[in-house]
């Protein structure tokens, strides 16, 4: 080891780190651990609950659809020209639901078509109003 090596060796800066370093770090580590346990206690039941609600919704939806179509209520209350399509209750179960969905599709298409007509009418009228400046 030459002189430079010795000089470098002796040049190390030292100081006393804070005494509670280990305790504080251990606290952070165990805190993290506790946090993850809390996470398990919190997130797992929450996820299970959400799953249960979803299952309920999906199992109850066909029944409520059947009930509403039997009672004549539900989606067929808005009046549009396409309403005549097939919103009257007929049959049971999936057939009713399919009919209802078809009715909704029909209504949406009709509304789109009405909107397009209105837009083109607006365009026409704005063109009529335009007056050449020169």
């Amino acid at each position: 080891m030459d002189k430079l090596d010795k000089s470098i060796k002796n040049a190390k800066q030292t100081y006393e780190p804070r005494e509670d370093f280990v305790a504080v770090t251990m606290q952070r580590i165990t805190g993290t651990k506790r946090k993850s346990r809390l996470g398990l206690k919190f997130w797992v039941p929450m996820l299970a609950g959400s799953l249960a609600v979803l299952i309920l919704v999906f199992t109850a939806l066909p029944n409520s659809g059947r009930n509403s179509s039997k009672s004549g209520g539900g989606v067929s209350q808005t009046s549009t020209p396409s309403q005549t399509a097939s919103t009257t209750p007929s049959g049971t179960g999936n057939t009713d639901l399919t009919n209802d969905l078809n009715a909704i599709d029909g209504q949406m298409n009709q509304e789109k078509s009405d909107q397009n007509n209105a837009n083109s009418a607006l365009n026409d009228s704005s063109q009529e109003i335009t007056v050449p400046t020169d």
Partner: protein, 181 residues
């Protein structure tokens, strides 16, 4: 390679005995903090980084490779964290930037001139080195790691470590020679 006692503690921690981790911290925290302090020159930052390194090492303990000592792994994590801090504060200097300025040969210091150097001058010269050189100097001279361990910590080939150590010393000679001459 980890010593058997250390390895047993690590396995216990892995098995859920978190409190055992305290033994590893008691063993290495002082050396690690001083190592980081000599890299970043800031006591608070050194302690923060050391704390983060211990926590990171604990969280990733399942990834620890038992072929190397725990200290090697811990220092590797700590140095990476320190460099992230330094990059954010932009205090690093690339080794490549300074290598071109190095002369090929420098006269070695005579005993007479070496006596003139105070520890402070050597510290200042080391502090002015590019961070990679500083890291090699710190790990080799102050933390007593061997070349293979330094290569593992710095994720470089052993040959590169030897070259950097040589060039770091060359740079120090130049710096200290300049101060005298």
């Amino acid at each position: 390679m980890s010593n058997p006692q250390e390895l047993a503690i690590i396995r216990e921690v892995r098995d859920g005995q978190v409190e055992q981790y305290r033994f590893l911290m008691e063993r290495y925290h002082r050396g690690l903090i001083l190592h980081l302090f000599n890299l970043v020159h800031d006591e608070a930052l050194a302690e923060d980084v050391a704390q983060d390194a211990f926590i990171r090492a604990y969280e990733k303990l399942s990834l620890y490779n038992e072929d190397f000592s725990f200290s090697t792994w811990l220092y590797k994590i700590a140095d990476n964290l320190a460099f992230q801090h330094m990059k954010r504060s932009k205090v690093t200097q690339n080794i490549e930037e300074i290598e071109e300025l190095l002369p090929d040969d420098r006269p070695s210091l005579s005993e007479e001139t070496d006596k003139l150097f105070m520890q402070e001058a050597v510290r200042d010269a080391i502090a002015a080195l590019p961070v990679g050189y500083r890291q090699v100097i710190s790990l080799y001279y102050w933390d007593d790691f061997n070349y293979e361990e330094i290569a593992e910590i710095m994720e470089r080939p052993v040959g590169t470590i030897l070259t950097w150590l040589h060039r770091a010393k060359q740079e120090l000679r130049k710096e200290l020679y300049g101060q005298v001459g």
